[in-house]
């Protein structure tokens, strides 16, 4: 089984988010980048499936050279090889077209992604890729098992419940908790990752349909009003009469 895992390179969850002086770009200064946390669920589940059924796990990132440390990390966790499409990820449609182009060339059985990227929060790329390739996308899945060599059984979240879906390979799915328990690379993994193949591919020409003009940050809160624990009931009165939310 050939599995493709798409990973995006995002600011660490604890990073302070700042923008350049003209608010036009994200300010990378002093920010540590990690594999998008949701993508780690996809990666680990892919490696588990490979361990159980055989096959290969390829990781793919659309990004510039500075994403390579995290691609190497994915290799250290257990992917076999990697592809970096050498381009700044301008918008989701651009990224989706790059992923679809790689997928067309290599025909993967399963394409796994994260539920969403924690920088752009689009939840778009997986469905776009499914549509571009004309294969199903099961989103957001939290359970993925093989029924037989050609069929997978997934559980996906819907508002207020879940759905059980069976799909034939190939398909796209996005992962979220508790699909797998993310792994930490061990020493051996880190050593072997250095020699695993990381191919750099040039992007295909693709449309960009959303133009990021500028960024802003939410207004700061006006400060917190404290209530004495003895008079806790007063809070309810304030929520009704002052905050007007009850």
């Amino acid at each position: 089984m050939k599995i493709l895992v798409c990973i995006s390179n995002v600011p660490d969850t604890t990073a302070k988010i700042n923008f350049t002086a003209d608010n036009r770009e994200f300010d990378k200064n002093g920010v540590q980048f990690v594999i998008n946390p949701w993508d780690e669920y996809a990666l680990t589940r892919a490696i588990e499936l490979k361990e159980a059924k055989g096959g290969t796990v390829t990781v793919l990132n659309v990004g510039e050279a500075d994403t390579e440390p995290n691609i190497r990390k994915a290799l250290a966790i257990g992917a076999d090889d990697a592809i970096r499409v050498n381009a700044f990820p301008k918008d989701s449609f651009f990224v989706a077209q790059q992923i679809a182009a790689v997928a067309k060339e290599n025909s993967y059985d399963i394409i796994l992604m994260g539920k969403e990227s924690i920088d752009y929060n689009g939840s778009q790329v997986h469905n776009m890729v499914g549509e571009l390739l004309g294969i199903p996308s099961v989103v957001p899945a939290f359970k993925l098992d093989m029924v037989d060599d050609a069929t997978a059984r997934l559980e996906r979240e819907i508002e207020g419940g879940k759905e059980v879906v069976e799909v034939k390979l190939p398909f796209v799915a996005s992962a979220q908790q508790p699909m797998a328990e993310p792994r930490i690379p061990n020493m051996r993994g880190i050593m072997t990752a250095r020699t695993k193949p990381l191919k750099v591919a040039e992007p295909v020409s693709a449309d960009v349909k959303a133009d990021y003009i500028n960024y802003s940050k939410p207004e700061k809160k006006g400060g917190v009003k404290m209530i004495e624990p003895e008079n806790a009931g007063e809070l309810i009165t304030l929520l009704r009469n002052e905050a007007k939310v009850l």
């Binding site: 969850t13 604890t14 003009i213 802003s216 624990p229 009931g233």
Partner: protein, 324 residues
Amino acid sequence: MSVLVFVEGLNGEIKKSSLEAATYGSQVAQQLGTTATAVAIGEVHQEALTKLGEQGISKVLYDGDARLSQFVADAYVKVIAKAAGQESAKVLIFSNSNIGAAIGAKLAVRLNGSLATNVTELPKTDGGSFTVTRGVFSGKAFAEVALTGDLKIIAIKKNSIDITNSGGTATVETLAADLADSDFVGAPKETVMQESDGVLLPEAEIVVSGGRGMKGPENWHLIEDLASALGAATACSKPVSDMDWRPHHEHVGQTGITVSPNLYIAIGISGAIQHLAGVNSSKVIVVINKDPEAPFFKAADYGIVGDAFEVVPKLIEAAKALDK
């Protein structure tokens, strides 16, 4: 040319998040000097459809094919694409639900449109440009994005628009998308709804959430009782669901659900940055924690420094005493 809004049904009624989308859609239509049409599918009561007039919808296209009562992406996309063609829609509006975001993305590819999900405000449409504001970096920032395609597809973040009730009625027309069995190949084998008589978390206006400070699942009746007295949904922090005190679908934060209720009450939650990412667009935040240094207080509007086991029973009592 018109604005087309996809509305989702639940138990025959239109979902609250879809009423928000309908309101948003008719406000966009007004901005553009056109009308807003809704498209509804599956089992939805007729009265619920005509009542969309209250949100400013003039016409509803309805495909009552019973097979559409379950979410099947291919079939949904086909119906909405058909409606969009029929109406010469230039703007498509969805709620940023699991379903809305999924079909929005597929339609963006199929109809060659520009897509923005997680949109929080009405668009700016002056001078021929069309820009929207969307939440990025897990609630830590907003981005202004110009949608450059001819067709604009927008999925609006839940609870970011006030539903209008202006009192009109919408006309309902049948939409026959002529779906084939092959459009339903991806239909789910099974749909399991959570057993709860309470409020659904992603749609809730009030959320009562508990963290590790609640000490164990046996104490959750305090969270549940407060929630039921306030008509709220319950939620939790990640460690709470990791330890199986609560189900995973209740976990909010960076790696869980994002909520933006009018009121979020956090009890025994420290306020780690990953937790805040899921709740920081709530309108009013209340924090109850015995540690005055808990970081959550910095993000709060109201706070009580105290022991949850003493404070929460007092809140339940006061909430029960409220006249509804």
